[in-house]
């Protein structure tokens, strides 16, 4: 067991299981390559361990009681590629995400989520290789260890469906993996990758609030920079940093519906321009409270562009902000980082080259680009 956070909580709690599979023992580049899985065209990955660790770090460094259900446990499983020397995440201290160890961790996580009367929040995060058959199949680090490689993988869709029987009322599943159709999945269109738990006909569902996001559409890839955090995980972290937050009674909460509706744009801004995440949500729920007002980028200038150089630019936040003026005139737009809010943007021209202009704008997303039309 690799519980990197074990914080017993009385009452409702949040439990997370985080899996990052970068090292695949039996794929090309692994320590024990097996010829039987060469045909999949898969290799070692450097992004998943960094992505999983980044997400786990966010969880463990977050303020435990700012979660709608206080954060209780985080279990982290990581494998790194043999030649991934730069990864200094002390991965050796974590359990390796083999099929069996993922199963063991999942079963323990299930029990933690299931306990405590049913008001818990369950978070499942996976980053690694994935394939698409009828369902999405996620590959464990020992994929290919036996003649039937599917035994070292698991069926995500069935697993997700089965988990609805868990008593955790808020269930969050985040899957950062490809969904390509490879030749072997064509030849075996319904590979018998066992689910981590099979859905049952008579299972009673307890999930009240669902947030399930697959990082990319079926048949498509998910991307990340080599030796960097994947684009989807960057987008997730941005969402929890405030880009998917809304003000409720003076408190900024990250909400499930806002994560679902904004993750696509955040993913695009992070660099995953070719990915289209697929989200499934149920009744919205607040997840995590920010400790203040989130800040965003604001860029503004004038149109026509030559007016920017002659303008004195200023902004005022409605409500409680003093008027802020750009220290000196410049030809390029003014780039700022400001708290979310409504601002009055102004451009004045002391030399009378253009007419003065002003415009109220809202700043509430990651990037805000505005222009003041002047004549």
């Amino acid at each position: 067991m690799t519980l990197i956070l074990d914080n017993p909580i009385q009452g409702r709690a949040t439990h997370a299981l985080v899996v990052g599979v970068g090292g695949y023992d039996h794929l090309p580049g692994g320590d024990r390559e097996m010829p039987g899985v060469k045909g999949f065209g898969l290799g070692q990955l450097t992004s998943p361990p960094r992505s999983a660790q980044a997400f786990a770090s966010f969880l463990t460094t977050s303020r435990v009681h700012d979660w709608a259900a206080p954060l209780s446990t985080v279990d982290l499983l990581i494998s790194t590629a043999p030649r991934d020397d730069e990864f200094t995440g002390t991965s050796g201290q974590y359990e390796r995400p083999s099929r069996q160890l993922i199963q063991d961790a999942f079963d323990r996580w299930w029990d933690r989520c299931d306990a405590g009367g049913g008001a818990n929040t369950a978070i499942f995060y996976f980053c690694g290789h994935g394939l698409q058959a009828t369902n999405q199949v996620l590959l464990a680090s020992d994929f290919g260890a036996t003649g039937n490689p599917w035994m070292q993988a698991f069926d995500f869709n069935k697993t997700r469906q089965a988990f609805r029987a868990n008593r955790a009322e808020t269930q969050i599943f985040l899957v950062d993996a490809c969904r390509e159709v490879k030749t072997p999945t064509v030849e075996v269109p319904d590979p018998a990758a066992p689910a981590l738990r099979e859905p049952e006909r008579r299972q009673v569902e307890h999930c009240e609030h669902d947030l399930t996001i697959q990082a990319t559409a079926p048949t498509k890839r998910a991307y990340g920079p080599e030796r960097g955090v994947s684009y989807f995980t960057q987008a997730l972290l941005q969402a929890f940093a405030g880009s998917a937050a809304g003000n409720q009674n003076g408190t900024w909460w990250v909400r499930s519906d806002l994560v679902a509706s904004r993750i696509g744009e955040l993913l695009r801004l992070a660099g995953g321009t070719e990915q289209r995440p697929v989200t499934t949500t149920q009744t919205p729920v607040t997840l995590y409270r920010l400790d203040g007002v989130p800040t965003f980028s604001l860029v503004f200038g004038c149109k026509p562009a030559e007016a920017t150089r002659k303008a004195e630019l200023a902004y005022t936040q409605y409500g409680d902000g003093p008027r802020q003026q750009r220290p000196r005139r410049m030809a390029v737009p003014w780039k700022l980082t400001v708290p979310a809010g409504i601002y009055l943007l102004e451009a004045t021209f002391p030399d009378g080259a253009f007419q003065n202009a002003q415009k109220p704008v809202s700043v509430e997303s990651l990037l805000n680009s505005e222009t003041l039309d002047v004549r």
Binding site: V186, Q248, D257, S261, Q282, G319, P360, S362
Partner: protein, 742 residues
Amino acid sequence: MSAQLDIQVAESRPLETGRIPVLVSVLNSELETVVGPVPFVPSEGTAIQVDPGIYVVHLDTPSGQRLSKAVDARESPNQLVSFDLHALSGHEALEKTALLKPFDSQEQSPGLDAAGFRSAWIRLWKRQTSGQWLLSPFTPLATDHNRDGVRYDFSLPMFPHTLQIGGPQTKWRLFALPVQESVTVTIAPDHARHGEVITTAITGNDVAESLLGYLGLGLTAHAEALWPMAEDLLQHKFRDPIGAAVGGYFLLRLRRLGRLREWAANLADNFGWLPDGAIIDGWLHLHMARQNNDDDEYTLVRDRFLDAASRGLPLYTEGLRLLVDGLTLFADSAEVRNALEGVRRYADCVDWAATTVTFRGHDPDRPDMVPQLGVPDSTAGMVFLQNLSLADIVQAGFLAPGTTVQLRGTGVEGVITPNGELQLDTGQTYSDPDAAAAEMLTTTAPQIRWHDWTVGASKTLAMIADEARSTSIQAEPSDPIERLGLAALTIWTLKRAGITRVRDVTRSYDRLGSVNGVGQRSITEITRALAASDLSPTTSPPDLTMSQSNLPDQPADLARRDETLAVNSHVRTVELKADGSVVLTVHVFSFGAGRSVEISGYITQNSGAFAPFSTNQSVPAPVAGVSSVTVNVPAMGLNPGEDVEVITRVAEAQIWPTVLRAEVAEQNVKATWRSKNDIPAVHEQLESRSGDRPTPAAAESPIPASGSQLRGSSVTVKGLQQGTKYHITVEVASDEPWSTNQ
């Protein structure tokens, strides 16, 4: 004192978008939501009362676009907040689509004008009450073409319809259409994937479409806000079952089972052509069964899922997902496993991100994970999407070979060649008129387009291209596949002289039509078509460039032919499985191992059983000199005690249909049919494509067949020489008069 925010929306086409509900929210200066989301329709706008202050107004569209306006309502009691929908798509015709569905317009992109979409095509399939799919004439009420998207407006009767799109660089995909009086289909370029398109279909039920949009975006709070307006959908399910199904999926998603219980069974029971109703009702009862642990309820659920699977594909992707998941839960019986197997054929090929069921495949009955590219064998009912090649325009018959064209204002002339190229006076040929014009004018000016080439006084190539992409291609009388059908039926009918009932033949031909897309015809029409056709009276093998060893079975070459003489592919065995399905073992000759061949044809029995089959397979390596492939045919009601006849065609085959005309019979011969004269028209067509002329016959001497009288279903001809033209005369004698008047 309070202030009023007057929300108004500017639209290009208020009649189209004015009744589509959108949602508006008002946030205070702390960005805290103070009002909303509130639904309203653009044509009416809405007024929202607030305290004086600074506000942000959000207008969220069902397509996922957010339009925002900050307003200062501290001084003036009335503030006009105006939103403009024009910018969503940049095109009036696409505004409705951009309001309801995610839409990506990129100014710098050539869009559908890109080379990747050249000669991309589209065609419409309709499912018959028998469950079979037929190609339907592509006759939209209105069409609008531009590079950011092509729009078609349909009015579809209450039968499932599927659109198919493909092209030389566009992977074939089929997507289910909602059937309604008003359906707007948009095909837009997928800027992230070369040659690929994004397809959307919108019904005239604005509220249902809006609800669907917010649900698809995961904006459940918005969908819930819209629900009071959408609940009316349920009241009108008999008028609009599609809208009611959308409401059903919404209630299932939010687990509002109480509301669903009131009407889901009615939707399932009264609209048998719509599997979605049975799926929704099945899941409703599954939730109820789980809550009550009720065994009877579980039985009902299982039956509902089986019923849904038997109805065909659901309209919505969410329904397909629910059907797969539902059947999986009951897969402990063979019946359910069979149903699941049938659904999975599609599920493996489905685009799970699409709203309506969208899958890769050859036709609605043949999903295929392997992407298909190119143009279908039969162009019947097809239209081109946007950007065409000259060759395809010529091949589709919109421009005749030999037509002279002039480059406007230059005196340069050219002639359209049979294979669709432009041959200039200089002798040079060009496949692209743009390139030809640029070459002759020694310029690469981008304004040079097809409209610079004129045909006659005023018609331009661009106008012909417009016609080609707006006109559904008619089934060509010379279509070799149709000719195969005619010929096969002719022979079949002759062989059944006096036995076959007219309606059997008609029904068979209808089924044949469903495969080949040639539509329905009665036997009378077939006969008339035969009489009017210019098909050759001879049954000579084609004497073109194709080698004799490549020739396929003739249509009359039935399953029981003598194996030892088989140089052509044939059916070795036919097995009837316990579930009624049929397995054919076909021996494929003359095609190298690894080559992809299309095997198609028909299985018949005297009692009237008839089933078409068609499959694409790679030829396996021969074993003992024989490459054997297996063809599976769904249950078709074969009678185990009766002979079976199989008519087989192998792709890349040359087909030579024969028409025989009744003649005066000689003494002691009851009736004689003699083939018409001259070279088959199908040869002419193929020659014009290949540019080769037939080789004259080297010799003409009779070769005896295996018997002077044709008995059973086959005749053997030995000693044929490659490259030699043969005339085969068939005389058919029967104890019964052959008539079509029964």
